[in-house]
């Protein structure tokens, strides 16, 4: 890869492509038996702002190589960022040595069933993912600057200050294995978040996620955030159950939690998941249909998982009935009973913490707008965004969290006065069971938290109305 991007930041030249590098490393490990090599190249750009002032900007161009070695059902792994031959050979040696040590330490074969066979034919054919055919042109700091300027101007015009982040990423992944796997994928993503605040600290939030930054407009997102800033002093809500309208981002946050609490195949097999004993039973309202759909229009598409297993749509809840959990090869082997990988490995060799869906799609309903969702509510609340969610009781999918930056009372069918932020403690499954209506419109939402190597994921969700949402305090 070489050459400057139009108006953008040139990628580092003279680096082999991830696919070339994966093949090279696999060749170095040819004598090491069962081996998988994963190469990831992240190029990304972040531009943060606070008080309508640019604060920090970060440009990343990093390659990492992971080698997984398998010996008698035991795995060992090694990661390196140095790309010279000696360093790569050392990584293959470390992985092999680790797997051998694990095998020697155990009295019997290990729990790993072996690297998956390639599911493309013929073996060796590259499974190209969904990324754009050429350089991703939008890692251009000038584009970020323009988006920030648009957000600042909009906030300024409303007497507010803008806080947030613009970020775009281009992550190429290649996986090659001694079983003939040879796949590549490229995931591009873009995200813009704006929080508008007044001098008193009252704030409103809006965000957009897409595969391309062209879909994001700093001024429009800032305007939406500004619309949510309370213009009067917020009132407090007493603890208790209330009907609630959850906007798209709030729904996405709940489903993000549910993904690991309920649909993690390892948790299910170990008896700690929220769907233990519930597959095939009604767990949600009939209007609820939830799937993991990596090729759904409007999602952040992904071709395969961290074991190179192709991704496909998995129905998780159909018309309120729990249908499935997801697996990688490790959790499927533990689950037994014919379970197979569903293409949800988060790490090479399967994560010790299980498999989780990362392309959730919640089907929409009939409501034309948030206003229509609010219309039947005599007294309840509207929540734009949820924050700091954490499980309280995993088996019941009971979580706690708070609202922020856009919480309003609903009175006599209308979103009315601003509310002080609330704390809720409720079961996500109960919320889905008590869902009365969903908007027809769905939107891609994301937590956009990029720790470690960038892994962009999001959920396509409607807004919804549910009854009995348990407010347990203020925030």
């Amino acid at each position: 890869m070489s050459g400057a991007l139009p108006g953008g930041i040139a990628p580092q030249g003279d680096l082999p492509s991830p696919r070339e590098l994966a093949a090279e490393v696999l060749a170095l490990a040819a004598a090491d038996g069962e081996t998988q090599v994963s190469v990831t190249r992240e190029r990304s750009l972040f531009s943060r702002f606070a008080g309508s002032v640019a604060t920090q900007a970060t440009a990343i161009d990093v390659v990492s190589v992971h080698v997984l070695s398998v010996v008698d059902g035991h795995t060992g792994g090694a990661t390196c960022t140095a790309l010279d031959r000696d360093a790569l050979r050392e990584a293959t040696r470390r992985a092999r040595t680790a797997a051998e040590a694990a095998a020697r330490s155990a009295p019997s074969p290990g729990p790993y069933p072996g690297l998956p066979k390639p599911e493309v034919s013929p073996p060796g054919r590259s499974l190209q993912g969904h990324g754009p055919p050429g350089p991703f042109p939008e890692l251009d700091p000038a584009v970020a600057g323009a988006a920030l300027a648009g957000a600042f101007a909009t906030a300024e015009a409303r007497g507010l200050a803008a806080f947030g982040i613009w970020t775009a990423g281009d992550v190429e992944t290649a996986i090659a294995s001694s079983r003939g796997l040879d796949v590549t994928d490229r995931v591009t993503d873009a995200y813009l978040k704006v929080v508008c605040r007044d001098d008193a600290g009252r704030a409103g939030f809006a965000a957009r996620t897409a595969t391309s930054i062209a879909a994001l407009d700093g001024a429009l997102v800032a305007a939406e955030a500004a619309d949510r800033v309370a213009r009067t002093e917020p009132v407090a809500l007493e603890p208790g159950p209330y009907p609630v309208v959850l906007d798209h981002d709030a729904v996405g946050s709940l489903l993000d939690q549910l993904a690991s609490l309920a649909f993690n195949g390892l948790a299910q097999a170990e008896g700690r998941g929220a769907l233990v004993g519930k597959l095939g039973t009604r767990i949600a309202a009939p209007s609820i249909s939830l799937s993991d759909a990596p090729h759904f229009p409007g999602t952040l598409p992904r071709a395969f998982d961290a074991e190179g297993v192709p991704k496909a749509t998995t129905a998780l809840i159909e018309d309120g009935i729990a249908r499935a959990v997801v697996h990688d090869t490790r959790s499927a082997a533990l689950a037994g009973g014919g379970a197979r990988s569903t293409g949800h490995a988060l790490e090479p060799g399967g994560s010790a913490w299980g498999a989780v869906p990362t392309n959730l799609v919640l089907g929409g309903g009939d409501a034309a707008s948030l206003a229509e969702l609010a219309a039947p509510i005599e007294r309840g609340l509207y929540i734009s965004r949820l924050w700091y969610l954490n499980p309280v009781h995993e088996r019941s999918a009971l979580v706690t969290g708070v609202s922020r930056e856009g919480t309003f009372l609903i009175e006599d069918g209308r979103i009315s006065r601003p509310l002080r932020d609330i704390r809720f403690t409720d079961s996500i499954l109960r919320v889905l069971a008590q869902t009365e209506a969903l908007t027809a419109a769905q939107r891609l939402v994301s937590e956009a938290e990029y720790y470690g190597t960038r892994f962009a994921y999001g959920s396509v969700v409607p807004a919804l109305r549910a009854t009995g949402f348990r407010i347990t305090g203020g925030a």
Binding site: D61, A78, A98, W387
Partner: protein, 502 residues
């Protein structure tokens, strides 16, 4: 590495009024043994360079793994391009990096203390130790998953800046823990030791893991996991609570440490991690807690995860009092935030997670100073009746660091000054200043321990900081326990076919 950085600094064009660069070499090893088999055994060697520049008042930062002069200069060019593309500061607004607080030129080396290098310990020895520890959890068939884990990290950072600083530091971290998952019917409970967040990690060597005596604690841990399956839910309502040191460490972290980060006060984290209910004008006057509450931030404690010779801006690690007898006296700051409020110097809290992240304000080692309440047994005896809460399970706090809710793995009744009945699913909630005002006793120095956290998240892109908190068990009056009030006696209570919309 110094030569590479020197070449990079020399290459910086005249338009850069500040340049600093770090090369971070990290070796990481993690092993988990679960149900008598190795669940994971991973090594990582990463080396990269991050360069930060200030151009016309705007920051730019770029990271690369190509450690050649050409690669470093290319990263510098990207950082400059990024800085130049930032929108100019509008009229009436102050640029985020308008000024930096001054820093003395620092040239030197620092290394954390350790006795036995964990990377030199044979893998077989590590596996045998962990295998024995998790095997000792096999006390009951209801323990369906037994796990022992270990982690070691060696981080060598070479830093150079246009201020003239040249620093090399090495931090070695090591630790681990055990976890038992017990399942029966509709109930599943987890019990861990020393904590649930990757165990106990310290700036130390293999000797730290050995000192935890994982195998020795295992039978108790597994036994408690089983007992929790049938234990009654923790009672709800206002109560006198004694909070164990490990849970108190997270309480300090969430409701004090983060609230006193100056960049949060100034709005720098408003869109993500949040702000603070405490402002710069409160320093020196605001009462945060009782007279029993004295909080220090100390980057010089041997063995603590947030200790160093210099932070990632080249500012010397230091100790300062954040709260003195309940009054907030200082904030955690870096060069940018310190300058923003006119402090004479940075508090030395500018830290970055690896080479691909730029420094932001982070905690160092934020600790509740010990009191005079004696040992835990002494405190329980003095308490009479109440609840004892131990080992964090769940945590949540609002974006201003004011309203919190925590859950612990276990709660014990305190009756007649002794521990009694075991309870499950304990939670407690509060508002930070009211909670800390209700603290009326802190155990003494012999009961004070450092607790390491390796998963403190902040910043965009996200950064995980490693920090330690020194705490001793403490007592709080009138705490709202079971504030959620919604943990079911059984999961069946939340299966709601009768109320389901259809």
């Amino acid at each position: 590495m110094h030569a590479l950085l020197a070449d990079l600094l020399d290459a910086a064009p005249g338009g850069c009024d500040h340049v600093e660069a770090r090369i971070v070499e990290r070796a990481w090893e993690s092993i988990g043994v679960r149900d008598d088999a190795v669940a994971w055994l991973e090594h990582e060697l990463s080396t990269g360079l991050g360069v930060r520049v200030r151009v016309d008042g705007a920051w730019g930062f770029a990271a690369t793994t190509v450690l050649t002069p050409a690669g470093a200069r290319e990263a510098l060019a990207r950082a400059i391009a990024v800085a130049r593309a930032q929108p100019r500061t509008g009229a009436g607004r102050r640029a985020w990096a308008a000024t930096l607080s001054p820093v003395p030129v620092a040239v030197g080396r620092w290394s954390s203390p350790w006795r036995r290098d964990p990377f030199a310990v044979p893998t077989e020895e590590k596996l045998a130790h962990l295998t024995a520890a998790q095997a000792a959890l096999a006390v009951d068939p209801r323990v369906v998953r037994r796990e022992a884990s270990y982690e070691a990290i060696r981080t060598t950072t070479t830093f150079a800046s246009s201020d003239g600083s040249r620093i090399e530091q090495t931090l070695l971290e090591c630790g681990g823990g055990i976890e038992a998952l017990a399942v029966a019917g509709e109930e599943a409970q987890v019990r861990t030791y020393p904590s649930g967040h990757g165990g106990s990690v310290a700036a130390a060597g293999w000797e730290h893991l050995l000192g935890l005596d994982l195998a020795g604690h295992a039978p108790r841990v597994a036994g408690e996991a089983v007992q929790l399956l049938s234990a009654p839910p923790c009672p709800s309502g206002p109560a006198t609570v004694v909070i164990g040191a490990e849970q108190l460490a997270l309480q300090v972290h969430e409701s004090v440490g983060h609230a006193l980060e100056l960049d949060r006060m100034l709005g720098g984290e408003a869109a993500y991690a949040g702000t603070s209910w405490i402002g710069p004008d409160d320093l020196g006057t605001l009462r945060l807690g009782s007279d029993q509450m004295t909080i220090s931030a100390d980057a010089t404690i041997p063995g603590a995860l947030g200790s160093y010779g210099w932070d990632d801006e080249g500012v010397a690690g230091q100790r300062l009092l954040l709260v003195q007898r309940g009054i907030v006296t200082a904030a955690l700051s870096d060069r940018t935030s310190a300058a923003a409020i006119g402090l004479a110097e940075s508090g030395g809290c500018g830290r970055a997670d690896g080479f691909a992240r730029q420094p932001i304000v982070r905690m160092t080692n934020v600790s509740l100073e010990p009191g005079d309440a004696g040992t835990l047994a002494d405190l329980l005896a003095d308490t009479g009746d109440g609840l004892y809460l131990e080992t964090n399970r769940s945590w949540s706090i609002d974006d201003r660091r004011l309203h919190f809710q925590f859950g612990t793995e276990v709660a014990y009744e305190i009756r007649g000054g002794e521990l009694g009945r075991l309870y499950r699913d304990a939670t407690y909630a509060g508002i930070a200043p009211r909670f800390w005002a209700a603290m009326d006793a802190v155990c003494s120095a012999p009961a004070w321990r450092l607790h390491g956290l390796t998963n403190c998240g902040k910043g965009e892109p996200g950064q995980s900081a490693h920090v330690s908190h020194g705490t001793a068990p403490a007592r709080f009056r009138g705490v709202e326990v079971g504030a959620s009030g919604t943990i079911p006696a059984s999961a069946a209570q939340l299966d709601a076919p009768s109320g389901m919309v259809g």
